[in-house]
């Protein structure tokens, strides 16, 4: 054992105290401090915690911190190292079952705890997954490939391209379905860009994650994974999809189209919603029930159109009243080639921005308008403001959400810089990122407190 391991995580006064009494982590000790006597095992110290305390695990399983400065004596009774592992069993294979590849990008579907940081870290091998979600073996033969180990906010163009290529490779190698484990924060960004990069996949490509950490008994992780794996195996919807809880209750999951899905709550299980339309399908342990018919069907041909390119010189300008034109100027001056505006209402910004937008367009920057209301279409003919903006060269992007428009613009600009071609590509839907119509039930946010909603909630587990 190295010195570092012996004092894992301890620094400053904590480290000095351990050294002074010649004890280290995993030692079973009796600490005499100014506050009295404490018996327990010295645990590694989290790097984010201060350097003034020593952590003990008591016999009762509780952890407590003793101030290093107050320690009068520490005596050791030997070492008792905890050996934390996810139960790992060989994942059973059955030639009759479909083959699924699970790509990992860093989300926590199954997890274990890291003493060093106190954080939940993912468990991922098929054996580990089988140990924690044994139901998977009833569904498929599973192989896993860890592509990245990043939080979802750290996913970016390189990761998207790498992921798209890996998915295409797996489809061509003949798997029956693909599951992608992903952190939920930017899952809808990745789902959108994959929808453009992986067109017409022969099999389902299903993204999945968990909102509530998988170490908790009530986590949505296991059920989401079971649903996603079933969707990848059984469903005949061969599109890029997100599979997450429908309601917050453990009832069913929803399959959302990659270009229409958005995370709508920072922590709820029911955070993913299809915006401006209805989801593709409802999935439970019992069945997959399609909610619509206009999806691409699973094919036996193992083919996929891979188009994994991205130009990251694009940005979103989230308009607010009083915004100054230098925000737009700064992007243009820094070499950005595409701007998506999240405008107010039907797609508006204030007049002081006009010169900056005119200048941007004149410099060859492609400017598209979306709505920060998320639901509804950009309609720039209704008011003068909209017409003025179009005259300046701002192009309305229909009912693409701002994030989806951004993903699409980055992808488009990697194909062309021609104003007409960029406009044509942006406004020609690839994967329903623009829809012809918004159905009457495409926008539903139930308002709590209303008598009829209260009646509904009481009769339906939300």
């Amino acid at each position: 054992m190295t010195q570092g391991d012996k004092f894992k995580g301890y620094r400053g006064p904590g480290l000095e105290t351990l050294k002074r009494f010649n004890v280290g982590v995993w030692e079973d000790v009796c600490v005499r401090s100014a506050k009295g006597e404490f018996r327990g095992i010295i645990l590694p110290r989290s790097e984010t915690a201060d350097d003034r305390h020593i952590v003990l695990k008591l016999d009762t399983g509780y952890n407590v911190g003793v101030a290093a400065a107050s320690c009068i004596e520490i005596t050791s009774k030997g070492r008792r190292e905890a050996n934390y592992h996810i139960q790992e069993n060989e994942f059973p294979t059955d030639p009759a079952k479909p083959d699924v590849v699970l790509f990992g990008t860093g989300g926590t579907i199954a997890s274990r705890l890291d003493y060093r940081t106190g954080a939940v870290i993912p468990a991922f091998s098929p054996g580990e997954l089988y140990g924690s979600v044994p139901e998977l073996a009833d569904i498929c033969n599973l192989t896993t490939k860890k592509l990245y180990g990043v939080f979802s906010e750290n996913m970016g163009p390189n990761e998207w391209i790498g992921l798209a290529k890996a998915v295409a490779g797996a489809i061509e190698s003949g798997v029956d379905g693909i599951v992608i484990g992903h952190g939920t924060d930017t899952m809808h960004h990745t789902a959108a860009i994959l929808s453009f990069m992986i067109q017409e996949p022969a099999v389902p490509v299903v993204m999945v994650g968990s909102q509530r950490s998988s170490d908790r008994p009530s986590s949505d992780a296991a059920l989401n994974l079971i649903h996603a794996t079933s969707a990848a195996c059984i469903s005949d919807i061969a599109e890029v999809m997100v599979c997450m809880f429908g309601p917050t209750s453990d009832k069913y999951g929803l399959l959302h189209r990659g270009t229409r899905v958005r995370k709508m709550h920072s922590s709820s299980r029911s955070t993913f919603r299809t915006i401006g339309d209805i989801p593709l399908a409802l999935i439970s342990e019992a069945e997959i029930r399609p909610l619509r018919t206009d999806y691409l069907k699973r094919r036996p041909d193992r083919k996929v159109k891979l188009d994994a390119v991205y130009d990251d010189r694009v940005s979103i300008v989230y308009y607010y009243p009083g915004m100054k034109p230098d925000v737009v100027d700064a992007l243009v001056d820094n070499g950005y080639r595409g701007i998506v505006i999240a405008g107010t209402g039907l797609g508006h910004v204030n007049k002081p921005l006009y010169p900056a937008l005119k200048r941007a367009v004149a410099k060859g920057v492609h400017v598209f308008m979306t709505v920060q209301t998320l639901w509804g279409y950009v309609q720039m003919y209704v008011y003068d403001t909209g017409r003025d903006l179009m005259d300046l060269g701002v192009i309305p992007a229909a009912n693409m959400t701002p994030e989806v428009a951004l993903m699409k613009l980055g992808w488009t600009l990697a194909h062309s810089d021609d104003r007409d071609e960029v406009g044509r590509m942006m406004l020609t839907p690839v994967a329903h990122e623009i829809t012809e119509r918004e159905p009457p039930d495409g926008y539903l946010i139930l308002q709590g407190g209303l008598p009829e909603v209260e009646r509904f909630l009481k009769s339906y587990q939300m």
Partner: protein, 562 residues
């Protein structure tokens, strides 16, 4: 039958009785422990429901906890009722904790001082798994503030193992079949858990220890009072037995009987074990079970009723060499068969009673047992247990019958039990181990400052036993002292004692017995405070006033005020 003397030390010493307590008491804060929801009176009203399941997960040390696995076997659907006024997304586990309630923390620190604990410098919030669904996350957030304290109980020093600050669980509304329903208004109310060492030697001492902790809580003035705001878990073991935890005893006066009958139950289980071993029964004796659906439909239709409806099955478990064992008495109205039935009810969720029948039951379907014995090549020395219900539940039930019998061969299973109204207990779940604890990752450790320790020290009243000694020294009886403290009238007493010329015992009488009597008689007693007492009895002439006359004067004054 004469009521047993719960303080008969030689008798309980001969059993080797050891008993400790875990007292759970809500703190009187305005808000919950990790969110800003208010604490309100309990209400059955709710606006919405959510459905959750609990899956066992791993502890820090990499083991599945036995309780965890048991709960998973039950396949329970857990329904939570949500009231908009008392819960937010935190309690639903749809949001992480916001922050630790510092008022709750401060109150718990004062109580740590009062219990003479070694105080922890840095608090680490732990997640303690509860797969019964009583907490929607599946774990309780809990932290230790101090260890190794003490209380004085009947002149004995009793160790306090630890004081924890934690969030309350839900209130169970119902538990039928595979559905358990909880009301969430109580969830996450701040709570202290005081754990004593197992140092009660008689059932009466266990109740006395609970009484001391109760008085300390009242003396602090920092806790919630009233039914439903306090619960005692009582740990009982005897020599050769195991630690059994009787959960959630609401009233202290229930404790002695529960401890007594648990001690006797353990003694009886050890007798059963010896009988089984003496008659050569080994673990292999429980390995056979067989389908008896047709026979049960024929011979036990009345008994099983709809448990034998179409698609359901009946199975018999053969317990070789065990005839007569299942009827072995374990307590009033309880036999080994009751223990087996408990497991079937709780774990296999077959809860229409009777949920099994066995060959030791004189009214049981003999023809069914005979047929099962014949098919299994068993004889009259072999016992038969028959269960019926949905196939999956019956499979679980058969396994549980076998598990319980294997445990009977070992002696007393480690389990938590719940108090029944009859004063005995029934199985609740297997006793969880330390494996169900792991660090909470949502909030960092909380470093307590010197100033916080000092404030707690300053606010802590004198030690209970010192205060009691002073009261007794001034001529109050122990009963008066107890009632002054548990009715919180000691505050008025302390304020008034130097301002009145009454004998202390008369003042105590007025504040406790007489006050209660007046209130029952419909007299408004809200005005009974130190000022009123000083005005009535501040004169030197009151030094010789008789109790009866003081009472009359007080009653008149209160009636005049009203």
């Amino acid at each position: 039958m004469a009521k047993p003397s719960y303080s008969n030390l030689p008798f309980y010493a001969s059993l080797g009785l050891k008993c400790g307590l875990e007292v759970h008491r809500q703190l009187d804060t305005a808000h919950k422990l990790f969110c800003d929801c208010p604490v309100r009176p309990y209400s059955p009203e709710y606006h919405a429901e959510i459905l959750r399941h609990m899956r066992p997960t791993l502890s820090e040390l990499g083991e599945y906890d036995p309780t965890a696995l048991m709960e998973f076997k039950t396949h329970k659907q857990i329904i939570y009722r949500l009231n908009r006024e008392t819960v937010c997304t935190y309690e639903m586990d749809d949001a992480p904790p916001f922050r630790l309630n510092r008022d709750a923390l401060h109150r718990a620190m004062v109580l740590s001082v009062m219990l003479d604990l070694n105080q922890v410098d840095e608090l680490h919030i732990a997640r303690k798994q509860y797969l019964d669904g009583s907490i929607p996350t599946g774990f309780q957030r809990t932290m230790i503030l101090g260890i190794n304290g003490l209380i004085m109980c009947n002149g004995r020093r009793i160790g306090i193992r630890q004081l924890g600050l934690e969030e309350e669980a839900c209130r169970e509304v119902s538990d039928r079949g595979h559905t358990r329903t909880y009301m969430t208004d109580r969830l996450s109310i701040p709570l202290i858990e005081v754990v004593t060492e197992a140092e009660a030697r008689t059932p009466a001492e266990a109740a006395d220890m609970a009484g001391v902790i109760r008085k300390i809580c009242h003396l602090s003035g920092l806790v919630r009072t009233g039914l439903g705001r306090v619960r005692q878990d009582v740990n009982v073991s005897i020599t050769g037995g195991s630690r059994v935890e009787i959960k959630g005893v609401p009233r202290i006066r229930q404790i002695p009987g529960l401890v007594h009958f648990e001690a006797l139950r353990q003694k009886a289980l050890l007798e059963v074990r010896d009988l089984l071993r003496d008659s050569g029964v080994e673990p292999g004796a429980f390995s056979d079970d067989l389908d008896v659906t047709a026979a049960a439909r024929k011979h036990a239709k009345r008994l099983f009723q709809k448990r034998l409806s179409r698609g359901n099955k009946a199975r018999a478990v053969i317990l070789r060499g065990c005839a007569g064992m299942l009827s072995h008495p374990l307590g009033p109205g309880r036999t080994l068969a009751s223990e087996v039935s408990d497991r079937i009810r709780v774990i296999a969720c077959i809860d229409d009673m009777p949920n099994m029948t066995c060959s030791d039951d004189p009214d049981g379907p003999t023809a069914l047992f005979d047929e099962a014995r014949r098919k299994a090549k068993a004889g009259p020395a072999d016992a038969v247990v028959v269960v019926a219900g949905p196939v999956r539940d019956v499979v679980t039930a058969v396994q549980e019958v076998k598990n319980r019998m294997l445990e009977a061969l070992e002696g007393v299973p480690r389990e938590t039990r719940k108090a029944l109204s009859s004063g005995v207990t029934s199985f609740e779940r297997l006793l969880p181990g330390p494996d169900r604890m792991y660090p909470d990752t949502d909030l960092p450790p909380i470093v307590l400052s010197q100033r916080e320790f000092e404030t707690a020290e300053d606010q802590a009243p004198e030690k209970l036993w010192d205060k009691e000694a002073a009261y007794l020294g001034s001529g109050l009886s122990q009963a008066q002292v107890d009632r002054l403290l548990t009715t919180d009238q000691f505050r008025v007493y302390d304020e008034a004692i130097d301002r009145v010329k009454l004998r202390p015992s008369i003042l105590a009488y007025l504040l406790v017995d007489f006050r209660v009597g007046l209130r029952r008689a419909g007299v408004e007693v809200g005005a009974l405070d130190a000022d009123l007492l000083a005005a009535l009895f501040g004169d030197d002439s009151c030094a010789s006033i008789k109790q009866k006359d003081a009472a009359k004067a007080l009653e008149q004054a209160l009636r005049d005020k009203a």
